[in-house]
């Protein structure tokens, strides 16, 4: 009970800090319509969020984060640019590790800004750095936009690119697809047989279910086209590996990516965005020479970050998850905005972890 009260008041302090930096405090419903979250994250979210229901509204979820409701609220009636802050409990279903809390507080800051995205990234990162500065945390950063740009820049079919992009947050399936597309793994025997059959649809009867004959034929045609597409070149799949394995201080990464974009010019705009961000951060007093960058960072979180990603970790406490984390999620507003979209970046702090590190929990 006392711990909860302390967490609440620490959260209020952090909220006040973000308000003092110009953010408007907002609230969100605890019960969120399940279908929005399910459509966004897929069935996996059921393993991570509590689902409940009633006879009128159907399935509801106890909010697993604030980002989705805040984006929805902004898309409905927000002015631009906008800065929001919030503090409240989120709920996470735990199925594997009983020591992890199933409810904890988050204090967040979200910035919706169309004009200068490098400045916006730097603003959010610096605010989190400032709020957490007494704790002496290690900052981890990455940029999903680099990997996404590299996939888009491959000299191969759009169908392959969208298959890879669809699984960019599922490293195993992404790897399997990449190996298939670059000819490292042979196509499965059943597919070879299907494509060699004189009349592939001969056995397709009786037709049952909603998936139509046309849909089956469309997929077979796609498989045929795929089989005739030359493999992704060795040098291009090396580029993807290179990016995924990057793990250096930011200036070194920038230099490396500049080298890579000589071979893949499509990467340049994303690399220039990284450069602009580092400059904006340096201008705000961040020592970017010491800032870690990981090419794979952000790939295993909830799948909506598509640009800059960051997290703050206590190096003395490797048992704790990130004390704060965030990133850019431009595509999320497009999914939730029904045709409209606005670039956005934000993050959350976990006040219980802050207290624990401050020795007060």
């Amino acid at each position: 009970m006392i711990a909860k009260a302390k967490a609440r008041s620490r959260a209020a302090e952090l909220l006040a800090f973000f308000q003092s930096k110009g953010a408007q405090a907002v609230e969100a419903d605890i019960l969120q319509p399940a279908n929005v979250l399910l459509d966004l994250y897929g069935e996996d979210i059921r393993a991570r969020a509590y689902v409940t229901s009633d006879a009128l509204r159907g399935e509801q979820m106890l909010r697993p984060d604030f980002t989705v409701p805040v984006v929805q609220m902004h898309m409905e009636h927000g002015a631009e640019p906008a800065r929001y802050t919030y503090a409240g409990v989120v709920f996470r279903r735990q199925e594997a590790d009983i020591s992890r809390p199933s409810e904890f507080m988050q204090v967040g800051y979200e910035l919706f800004e169309r004009e200068n995205q490098a400045m916006a990234d730097a603003e959010v990162f610096c605010l989190f750095q400032e709020a957490l500065s007494p704790l002496d945390l290690r900052a981890a950063t990455g940029d999903m936009g680099i990997l996404i740009a590299a996939v888009r820049g491959l000299s191969t079919t759009d169908r392959r690119k969208s298959a890879l992009l669809r699984h960019i947050w599922r490293p195993r399936r992404f790897r399997a697809l990449l190996e298939r597309f670059s000819g490292k793994i042979k196509p499965p025997a059943s597919r070879v047989a299907l494509l060699q059959a004189e009349d592939a649809m001969q056995d397709a009867s009786p037709l049952i279910g909603l998936r139509s004959r046309n849909e089956i034929i469309t997929r077979i045609d796609a498989l045929k086209a795929e089989a005739e597409t030359p493999p992704i070149s060795k040098s291009e799949s090396f580029i993807l590996d290179d990016i995924l394995n990057l793990r250096e201080k930011s200036p070194m990464v920038l230099e490396r990516l500049r080298d890579i974009s000589v071979d893949m010019p499509a990467l340049s705009p994303a690399v220039e965005r990284l450069d602009a961000r580092l400059n904006a951060m340096a201008a705000k007093g961040i020592n970017v020479d010491a800032l870690d960058f990981e090419g794979s960072y952000g790939r295993t979180t909830l799948e909506y970050y598509d640009g800059f990603v960051f997290g703050f970790y206590a190096e003395s406490r490797p048992d704790l998850p990130a004390v704060a984390s965030g990133g850019r999620y431009d595509a999320l507003s497009r999914v939730l905005g029904q045709g409209r979209s606005i670039p956005a970046v934000g993050g959350v702090i976990r006040p219980e972890l802050v207290l624990e590190l401050e020795g007060q929990a």
């Binding site: 399910l38 594997a96 499965p188 397709a204 009867s205 049952i208 279910g209 849909e215």
Partner: protein, 229 residues
């Protein structure tokens, strides 16, 4: 006090369990009338037989209200989170075989593997505007399996019976269900994906990791384990 052994209260599963223990020198039998759930144990001291529905045995083991329990390995995986931290597999008993599998319409000639299913699911969502529906009552196992295999753009719809009929009735596009011979699947024009085996289930003797034991109960348990091993 006694060691509590939970056994399915009816049907073939109960009879086969009684046979299995009988062959190992532990006599289990029901006492009283057919309708009364009373039972006795011969051949080993300090053991009490508890007759329960097979689907309740995982829960009772996890709560530590029974020390040993016989049930399908699929039920333990379905009903318990992080099941192997709560119960331990003592013996696979060699009966009650059933496979939890993923099956699609036979007419889907383009879908043989989970990677095909994943690709078809993406196209289906684009065409129909909703995620492909999988009818099942084994939500946890199917979800964990598909996540590990990297299949996306599906949804699970609950089906507590006649699951194989859901495709024809267009309330689901495919099913994840238990099968032993595959007969019902074939009759409903479904085929099992080549790599669509989620879990190979059989009747299994489990030991609770949670149940408290006195020294005397420990001795009884050791005696049972010696007889059956």
């Amino acid at each position: 006090m006694t060691i509590k052994l939970g056994v399915p209260s009816k049907g073939r599963l109960m009879e086969k369990t009684f046979d299995w223990f009988g062959k190992r020198g532990i006599g289990l039998r029901r006492t009283g009338s057919d309708r009364e759930y009373a039972a006795a144990v011969d051949g080993v001291k300090g053991v009490e037989l508890v007759l329960l529905s097979a689907s309740e045995i995982p829960r009772e083991l996890a709560a530590g209200r029974i020390h040993l329990g016989v049930t399908g390995s699929d039920l333990v995986r379905e009903k318990l989170a992080a099941w192997d931290s709560q119960v331990e597999e003592v013996e696979l008993m060699g009966f009650g075989h059933a496979d939890l599998i993923i099956a699609v319409p036979k007419c889907w000639v383009d879908v043989d593997l989970l990677e095909d299913l994943d690709a078809a699911a993406a196209m289906f969502r684009n065409t129909h505007g909703f995620r492909m529906r999988i009818a099942t009552k084994y939500h946890r196992q199917v979800r964990e399996f598909l996540r590990a295999q990297g299949v996306a753009d599906y949804q699970l719809v609950d089906s507590q019976g006649a699951t194989e009929g859901t495709v024809k009735h267009e309330t689901a596009e495919l099913v994840a269900d238990i099968t032993s011979s595959g007969e019902t699947l074939r009759a409903n024009h479904l085929k099992i994906l080549t790599d669509g085996l989620v879990h190979k289930s059989q009747a299994t003797l489990f030991r609770s990791r949670k149940a408290q034991m006195s020294d005397q109960e420990r001795l009884s348990l050791a005696e049972i384990l010696k007889k059956i091993s």
